[in-house]
Symmetry: C2
Subunit: 349 residues, 2 copies
Amino acid sequence: MDGGERGGKREASEDTTAKPTLRTIAELTGLAVTTVSRALGGAPQIALETRQKVRQVAEEIGYLPDRAAQRLRTGRTNVITLVLDPHEEILGFSTSLIRGLTEALRDTPYHLVVTPHFANVPSLDPVRHIMRNKMADGIVFSRTEPFDERVKLLLEHEFPFVCHGRTELGAPHPYVDFDNFSFAYEATKRLIAGGRKRLSIILPPRRFTFFQHIQYGFMSAVREAGVTFELVEGVDLDSPAADIQAYVFRRAGEPNPPDGYVCGGEVSALAVMAALSDRGLRPGDDVGIVAKQTSGLFDLIRPQVDTIYEDIADAGLQMGRLLLAAIGGREPSELQILQKPKLNFIAAT
Amino acid sequence: MDGGERGGKREASEDTTAKPTLRTIAELTGLAVTTVSRALGGAPQIALETRQKVRQVAEEIGYLPDRAAQRLRTGRTNVITLVLDPHEEILGFSTSLIRGLTEALRDTPYHLVVTPHFANVPSLDPVRHIMRNKMADGIVFSRTEPFDERVKLLLEHEFPFVCHGRTELGAPHPYVDFDNFSFAYEATKRLIAGGRKRLSIILPPRRFTFFQHIQYGFMSAVREAGVTFELVEGVDLDSPAADIQAYVFRRAGEPNPPDGYVCGGEVSALAVMAALSDRGLRPGDDVGIVAKQTSGLFDLIRPQVDTIYEDIADAGLQMGRLLLAAIGGREPSELQILQKPKLNFIAAT
DNA sequence: GTTTCAATTTATAACGTTATAAATGCGCAA
DNA sequence: TTGCGCATTTATAACGTTATAAATTGAAAC
């Protein structure tokens, strides 16, 4: 044996395989653990020279603070939780959101935890759980309702969050929303400009805030132009694609079928197009279509139809940034973003 | 003042707002913190009566163990990390994977952390980082290569993981893979059965293991039937859709164009269909197409083409289960799953 | 009445970090 | 010399949990 006692506490071990801690740095520099901690934290009371030295050593040995210890001590989790709705698993919505969020969290100590809430559980549960057990420093969710219970609860407990979509609550809160009024208004005007006379629209479920925005945009354009319209009943953007398809197929066989559809999502647009095709109608030609696009998918769909682009990845990025600002204590009223639609109309033939 | 000293440690506080800890239960039951901990852990040395009592109290006050404290003490993170490749953001691949994973992690203490590795970072970095700093108890990743460096590294350190796709390494390791040989073989046979004489295929990038499986399946069917074939060069399944589209468009205008395409992904299939349409050719009619489908999307695409279904959500579910088993110490050779393709051929017209 | 043993419970320490309060050293004025 | 103030560093305790070893019971054996 070459000098080391096998028991007892090891002193100034040069063990390169062990995970470096503050203690490692303290031993290497001859400073106290506390000093090292404060030096890395950039406390001005620590001599500049000491701070530099500590940082250099930390860098050299690849020190990374232990998340669990920090979390236990400070109560900060360095976690952002995305509460995913089962319905959001349509065509990359959540993927884009996640991409944006992780981009915003890049080069921060924050990790993104994805927590789906399963169908049978009421929507409030995961939020309550995260708050009560301090599972995260901030929450992200979507599918916001005008008087959203989650927003109320989070505001009440002053827990940082951002939601995708606005509310009609009095208190301001952070949000990122897409200007669905403009989307529907511009989409409808486009159909009217194309000479369509009887317009139809597939709306989101009534309970969501953006139901109203889309309906209002549609109605505004329709009323301004004085064209006939109808609202799809019994089927909405959350309905199974097959149901939307069946509805449109049936409607296209009845008297006075619509000659233009506004579709608030890619899946619904494809369902409408499939139904029309199956009736022998050419989408975009016999029946006008304007679809909301959230991916590059529609560039590949034939026949090409008019689309309006909603950038979900950007929404995720913005939500991430707003949430970090909210955690940092910024005023909610400064943390509100409305995304503009990007019109993507095909050239007239 | 009514009896309570303002300083010092509080005793047996009945504070219902404070987060309950083991100490809370200990005070409520009159037991020691250690006993409570072991009782909740189900240690057989604790009297059954005590165990039941402790569990009941814990239930009543809604006790939940502090993750940070557990992690600090035990070194177990209760975290599974999904390392996402930037390329995987296509059409819900990762969303489905995440859905399956979260389903597998449901009712376990595990959380899912999503960590993308950004384009410029070499693929090995995030894995090394997670292992070295014990950021998770297990890792999930995809896009596996025959001699995958990540697999080597993880095996070497005996760190639990599951990957989507097989390797050609000697040591067995957990994986979930789709039977891409059968996919390509059946797809090609379908085209041949439809009378196609000159087949083409868009392959994955060469570095992935499933490149070989798909190519081998295609070649087997082609050779058996003795039909002419060509392999698309310069463009692969990871190429931008526009590039695939441009390639097929160009090729369709040259002599002896293919009359059948095997497409290993939804986006590539749509790109092929768009290119053919733009040449005035009817996909599925003038030119045969068999596409790999990973969502319900193709049910809505017109004209309808033959597809073969790969269930990504199920892959995620299986991967989650295998990973939990791997963490539990099960043998890697028992943790290997090969998913069967589900043929989804449209009825002949 | 002591001893022995098993069953059950408990005290102690530690994981790595940071907030708090205390200590150290040094220059300088009294 | 003593004492004060300043800059800098340090010891101590605590976050909530669990592994380890020790202590406490009661009953059975001698």
